[in-house]
């Protein structure tokens, strides 16, 4: 295996824990707003690292671009989605934890 592939594997392995932490947050955090925070980490950082890592290993430009596109799409969706849900929750009167 080449150095680039090792690097890729390393990035994937670094990315995966974000998902497990995201689930821990989803289960343990006290309200919607904090859970949104936990979710966004998995979506953005975890998926980003996995996509980059797999892209490094794929060795084909088209595949790498596709993986990057997946990450960007997920970023857009999760950024807007998190904002919309938080806004809606506030306007529906879901009280943030500790207030």
């Amino acid at each position: 295996m080449s150095l680039v592939e090792w690097l890729g594997l390393l990035m994937v392995l670094f990315g995966l824990p974000f998902f497990f932490l995201g689930t821990v947050g989803l289960l343990r955090f006290p309200d919607v707003y904090t859970r949104l925070h936990a979710l966004a980490k998995g979506d953005n950082v975890g998926l980003g690292l996995v996509c980059l890592g797999l892209g490094l290993q794929s060795g084909s430009l088209a595949m790498t671009l596709k993986l990057l596109l997946i990450w960007i799409l997920m970023l857009i969706a999760s950024a807007t989605g998190v904002g919309l849900i938080a806004r809606t929750a506030l306007s529906r009167g879901v009280r943030p934890w500790g207030l």
Partner: protein
């Protein structure tokens, strides 16, 4: 290396299984929706890992479609079902809508 990816996808499945607790518990609809979004991301990663393991390129297309359409579900959720200003329902964060 591929064994690691298979183990990783297996762990992600366990992750989904554990996360289902949030779908069960709620309490608000948004919590359940969030968990579903989380699973969508996990499924994308599982698909990407399996694509690498099997060398089947079309699995990346499936992941691409999931990534593209994950926005549709959330936006429908907040504009058709869990609508803003429909207050009083979630005041104590216990009443499910």
């Amino acid at each position: 290396m591929f064994e690691i990816y298979v183990i990783a996808s297996l762990l992600l499945m366990v992750n989904i299984l554990v996360g289902l607790a949030r779908v069960l518990k709620g309490p608000t609809a948004a919590d359940r929706m969030l968990a579903a979004e989380m699973f969508a991301t996990s499924a994308v990663v599982i698909l990407l890992l399996l694509a690498t393991v099997s060398g089947e390129e079309s699995l990346v297309d499936v992941a691409l479609v999931f990534a593209l359409l994950s926005a549709v579900t959330v936006v429908t959720f907040v504009s058709r079902f869990w609508i803003a200003g429909d207050s009083g329902k979630d005041r104590r964060a216990g009443g499910d809508s």
